[in-house]
Amino acid sequence: MSRVHEQWIRPGIAKTTFCAGCGHGILMNAVLRAVETLKIPPRELLFVSGIGCAAWIPSPNFNADTLHTLHGRAVAFAVGAKSFNPKLNVIVISGDGDIASIGGNHLIHAARRNDDITVICASNENYGMTGGQTGPTTRLGGLTATHPAGNPYKPFDLVHLVLAAGAQYAARYTVTQPRALSNAIERAVSTKGFCFIETISPCPTQFGRRNRFDQIDKLYDDLVSRYITRQEAHKMDPKDTVEKIVTGEWFRGEVMP
């Protein structure tokens, strides 16, 4: 973390709670870089999170108003705060289980209403905090604590889900693309309306261990080998993109995918 970002860290916080190799720390840095570049005064920022490892990115670490809520409810709390005080820049940061499974209804309805908030979803393919159970973004066949023989379900495409629901802007980047990720957060926070960023953030401790990525770098190698840009995806046969992570930015009204 660069020294300029230290002012954004709450006094007394010496370390994060993330495991070695967890992507959430990179996401944390990308968020701070974005708000720093945008020069938003801390008192005009509200970070809202749910429950899970990712929900601990802003709370207690960020030195601004933080609202650490209940599992699944972050978006609804955020909508209440934003609608009463529109001057607040409201940024939700939480895990994929939190945002897209138990909180999925709030997500799609906030997108439909185009509520003026930014939602950053840290997708790590499982429920990290509770021990690596299947989550809504676990890949087909992924090994988890609740599907030891492999996840039989396809994961959500969260970007297209929120766009179909009415989001203004959506992006997907992995933590191995930190600059693009940070730029997307900047764009989302400065864009009016519902903006969504899915961050692919690996979980070595739970998902990596179960899926035979014995070393942290193997998990990152897998990530780097799988992500492609939207432009690259366009040139490919759609069936070849199934295993890929398509990254980039999407705007409302634009032709998908």
């Binding site: 709450r10 007394g12 801390p42 008192r43 005009e44 509200l46 809202v48 709370s59 207690p60 030195n63 601004a64 108003d65 933080t66 609202l67 650490h68 809520t69 209940l70 699944g72 409810r73 609804a76 709390f77 955020a78 909508v79 209440g80 705060a81 934003k82 609608s83 009463f84 005080n85 001057k87 607040l88 209804n105 709030h106 309805h109």
Partner: protein, 376 residues
Amino acid sequence: MTAPLKKQTQYLMGNIAAAEGALAAGCRFFGGYPITPSSEIMEHMAKVLPGKGGVFMQMEDELGSIAAVVGASWAGAKAMTATSGPGFSLMQETIGYAAITETPCVIIDVQRAGPATGQATRPGSGDIIQAKHGSHGDYEIIALAPSSVQEMYDLTIRAFNLSEKFRVPTFVMTDEGIGHLREGAVLHKDFETINRRKEPGTMPFDTDDPLFVPPMPIFGDGENLLVTGSTHDGWGYRKVEQPEVHERLVKRLRQKILDHRDEIIETSEDFTKDAELLVIAYGFVARSARKAVKVLREKGYKAGLLRLKTLWPFPKDIVARLTSVAHKVIVPEMNYGQVAGEVAKVSKSEVIPYCRVNGEVISSIELIRELERHVS
């Protein structure tokens, strides 16, 4: 026979009077989801709030309604929602969150006969225990019970004042009978408004006096608030493994309410001084009970009524005092004895529940019959 309406008296529905009470008390955020028999409150707020500079949000479900209310409260709003049984059940987890984060908010539960979907259009009082114990863990809340359209207005105002003062979720536990009742009420301005206390730079979640209510800053004040539903210290830092931090917090959440019982509790009494047969009632049934007790007095029996306007914290001292005079206590209610059970915990004399759960209100005629059985 009804007395002629006073000049400023309006003829209106209980639910509308509650909405008007909220507006008069300064409510400026409403988050809700439609449910019979409470929807008139939401629709009235949708119509009136925007014109008062307030915000109305129809949320996607009741989980969202109460979450938005708590979010808006921290953004500085006096905030409320209104619902009925099924929605009230969905809200419980966040009610516990509001309790541990000491978030002022008002929840009106226009009760219907449950469980589950039950009788959507019929009255019941089956949510009284749930109001106190619906969320997991130990906590205290405040719950008020109006018996008239006038009290829908007055007690909703009071709910906001108590909620702001004690930083606690506060319930107006009414029912379909009162919610849809139409009668005269005066929407007066003759009351004091309590606003939350701010003290920049002080702890938002603890005080030096471990029994009292800390001041409450809001988002945007520059206080870098740390609000969490996990066990926290006075500044909001999560301290989830220190037994003493948890105990201090949970104890204070209880004591800040229980130590102010005298200020919070309101009851009214008819003929209780020498009452040998005491009726304890609340909500719609208290109307029938009042009539029944009067008729028994006219017949020369020493009957009296204690009407509970506050259900939680439970008015146990008043019940203990009156039951030391009475020989028998009858508790008529539209559930299987939820308040009767609380009465029995402190009563000095025999407690007889009179229960009705078929969605019909308990009439004065049948209560007179029941009371006569116990005096002769």
